[in-house]
């Protein structure tokens, strides 16, 4: 397991993605799956940066665990901000016309659609969000 602890600021996104990509590349993750994982990581980290700590700067821990049998990755985000379950939000209606489209919620929707499993828990004052994704193209 590898862990990065970083200030939850949008400007730190490239560092977070760099950290995750390093583990994915070492695991020979296919390019398409890597993009989907990067999108999910971006949405979750940016969410924490925007909402977890209001005006203050807090930290987020990003843990990456790669398993070989089967090839899969588990990425866990932990913050000590306000309890917030991003999965509780209703999915946007992606069939609406352009005039009616709401852009909010699209990021989390992409996470739910592209990851194999997404789980949120509030544990001992921490938001804990876990993503799981197999590393073999279907």
């Amino acid at each position: 397991m590898k862990e990065l602890i970083i200030d939850a600021l949008t400007e730190n996104l490239p560092q977070v993605l760099g950290f995750v990509d390093e583990q994915l590349e070492a695991a020979q993750c296919p390019v398409k799956i890597q993009m989907q994982i990067d999108i999910a990581v971006e949405e979750i980290f940016v969410n924490i940066a925007h909402y977890a700590y209001e005006q203050e700067v807090g930290t987020a821990a990003v843990r990456v665990e790669v398993t070989n049998e089967p090839p899969a990755v588990q990425i866990t985000f932990i913050d000590q901000g306000i309890p917030y379950d991003p999965l509780a939000k209703a999915d946007p209606d992606v069939t609406l016309s352009i005039e009616e489209r709401q852009i909010g919620g699209l990021g989390i929707f992409m996470v739910k659609k592209t990851m194999d499993d997404v789980e949120y828990k509030y544990l001992d004052g921490h938001n804990v969000l876990t993503l799981k994704k197999g590393l073999v193209s279907k």
Binding site: T10, E11, L13, P14, V31, K32, M35, D38, I39, E42, E43, V46, V94, T95, L96, S97, I98, E99, R101, I103, L106, G107, F109, M110, K113, T114
Partner: protein
């Protein structure tokens, strides 16, 4: 990292976006569009060198499409299969004109 190359021919603006369109780079593209879209009736996005798009990038495309619906046409060209799949998952395939 993202690079934006704009080419204006009459009322037609071609915007080639290279690299990553994400939370950190999307505001730059949005600002560039705001500066140059006013008199444009034909907007073309060349995404042949676009490697990545997140919801922040989709948001900019939606805003551009809404704007162009009132003043002309907009097409998106050269997307990789992986990016097309993102458009498909999010319903953007129905909103955008993808060539």
């Amino acid at each position: 990292m993202m690079t934006v190359n704009k080419q204006l021919q009459g009322d037609k603006l071609t915007v080639a976006v290279e690299g990553r369109l994400d939370t950190t780079t999307a505001p730059e593209l949005e600002a560039q569009l705001k500066d140059s879209i006013d008199a444009v009736t034909e907007l073309v996005f060349d995404f042949s060198k676009l490697e990545y798009i997140s919801s922040a990038g989709l948001r900019v495309l939606l805003t551009a499409q809404k704007c162009m619906n009132t003043q002309g046409t907009m097409v998106v060209r050269g997307c990789s299969e992986d990016i097309k799949e993102i458009f498909s998952i999010t319903g953007f395939s129905e909103i955008l004109t993808i060539e």
